[in-house]
Symmetry: C2
Subunit: 344 residues, 2 copies
């Protein structure tokens, strides 16, 4: 069941109206130290009786150990099955808070209020919930739609430029896999000049359409993984290397250039189109230096990608600019060449 998505200029009004129609026995708001300070004031008057559950910020917190803390708080608060969790934060809060809600007493309601660009244009839509597991991204989780999603781009003002840039990678992805005209349009503006309301709506429209057609990623939904086979491996690898950690979108930016290269090698897109992709993405994200000994460790990580079947790496690639295809077998050799192309 797809959830209600509210793109709202005044979140306190829409959220308040929404909650008035419901009968929750208790409400909890999951925050980290940043969203408690910067975002919770936007809604605190709407839910004055809510219990705050605070976790530490950062992808490295997206573990089963943090879930245990959250489940414990819910237990201590004696939450029953009619309780509600509001996840106020980025992808970590949304994915993990959603997973905790979906598994507490076999499932209670949850609402997503994404506060980062990344979570507004991607993570909050489509029902993917979960946590990382021993270095593998989103390895443990479930599919479950939230009851509702509230999106307000005012929250983006609380982001660092790095976080905004990270989320923009998924906007670029949505253009590349589904809308050539928008891909041309975003290239005419630098990051700071983009129209976030317009782009959030654009991304959500594309993502909703794809995920409603294939909620559990049996087929079509895999196109949303363009850039992610290689991107996730790179993100996982650098996660634990001091000083080299990448934000999700920074890793996906690398993955998109590399996978666009494989699309080019398979003659799906032209050399000119490949270069256009490489140049625009590099102009925003710069280049991360990937040494040979890094590469050797990144390659095996692509074998754990969730899209793989029968031990074969299966990529989602650009069929043309503005259109993607999935389940395309790719060899380790091709991935090596693609990352080498990125590093040229």
């Amino acid at each position: 069941m797809p959830s209600d998505i509210f793109l709202s200029k005044d979140i306190s009004v829409t959220l308040s109206t929404y909650l008035k129609g419901k009968q929750y026995s208790d409400i909890s708001v999951l925050v980290d130290e940043n969203t408690e300070r910067n975002c919770f004031p936007f809604i605190s008057k709407i839910v004055p009786y809510a219990h705050l559950i605070q976790i530490k910020s950062g992808e490295e917190q997206k573990t089963i150990a943090t879930c245990e803390q959250i489940w414990q708080r819910m237990t201590d608060l004696r939450f029953d099955r009619k309780a509600l969790i509001i996840n106020l934060g980025g992808g970590v809060i949304g994915d993990m808070g959603g997973f905790c809600a979906a598994t507490y007493k076999r499932g209670i309601d949850f609402i997503q209020i994404p506060t980062t660009l990344l979570s507004q244009v991607d993570a909050s839509v489509g029902g993917k919930l979960g946590i990382d597991f021993n270095g593998f991204k989103n390895h443990i989780g479930v599919f479950k739609e939230p009851q509702a999603v509230f999106i307000n781009t005012d929250f983006l003002k609380t982001l660092s430029p790095g976080e905004l840039r990270s989320g923009f990678a998924e906007v670029i992805k949505h253009c590349l896999i589904a809308d050539k005209i928008k891909w041309k349009e975003i290239q005419t503006k630098v990051l700071e000049e983009q129209d976030w309301d317009d782009l959030a709506e654009h991304s959500i429209t594309i993502k909703t359409k794809v995920t409603q057609a294939d909620p559990e990623e049996k087929g079509l939904r895999k196109i949303l993984n363009f850039g992610h086979t290689i991107g996730h491996a790179i993100e996982s690898y650098y996660l634990n290397i001091t000083g080299k950690k990448l934000l999700h979108g920074e890793a996906i930016a690398i993955g998109m250039i590399a996978e666009a290269y494989i699309s080019y090698k398979k003659k799906f897109i032209s050399q000119k189109e490949l270069e256009e992709i490489r140049n625009y993405i590099m102009s925003i994200y710069g280049k991360v230096e990937i040494f040979d000994f890094d590469l050797e460790k990144i390659l095996p990580l692509t074998l754990q990608d969730k899209k793989n079947e029968n031990k074969t790496i299966q990529c989602s690639l650009l069929e043309q600019v503005g259109k993607a295809n999935y389940n395309i077998p790719v060899t380790i050799k091709e991935i090596r060449e693609a990352i080498e192309y990125y590093s040229l």
Copy 2:
């Protein structure tokens, strides 16, 4: 989606036929040391290429820590989304193995082969999956149906008398909540003389009907919890007390007497019917001595029951013998009296 249930005299044939129609990339069989020795030989020739995942037996293993071991083995085996887990064992194996499958890469297929009476007549049907959490039974989990369930009562020969008796409590429950004639019938035989094929089919038919009408326990399904509000609290309490640990059905037997007493106090059943229930159950399970200081600790545990709403304890009670109702508010005082009645 309800799963296929096969009641089979020759599990190797039915399982083999079933698997021939599928295309799994890998198969794993989850066992404990007992089911590996006593039950795996029944199917080992059907799945010679399967990877065994062995965990320790016992309810105290039904934790997130054991899930982490299982997820790690699946990860090490590089299981993709087309892999299958066969859960070969009792309720712990089925509930926890199912939960691990339902959450690994957001869900892979699993098959239940219940080997205890308890799991054959109850746990394997209805899609409740999960683990215990800090002393709370099945506190973390999801609803998800297995692809198929294979039931063969030959496995019951591998059980201790205590385990058989434990499972029989759910058979009694299904009679009390849904079939007065069968309730009369089972009372004519001692435990050893019961017809397990007949009773397994009887229980599964009742449970399937109820769970298909209400898979996520929004209403009707709660009748299956007769005896469980008090039973679970008692089971949780004694779980960590050396020498006093109860099997699930032993605790539910106590819960059914106590909750039948509340049904009597609320004038749903007669004193004669209450005494018939008490006498038959006591004749099989004997009486567990519950001291006053135990009682004081058991009572607050009923507040964590998953059926509760708005901090009120909600019981499923007998409306008459052979019929149950749910969402009946019950006070701590009534529960205290009921356990005192049991202890008379």
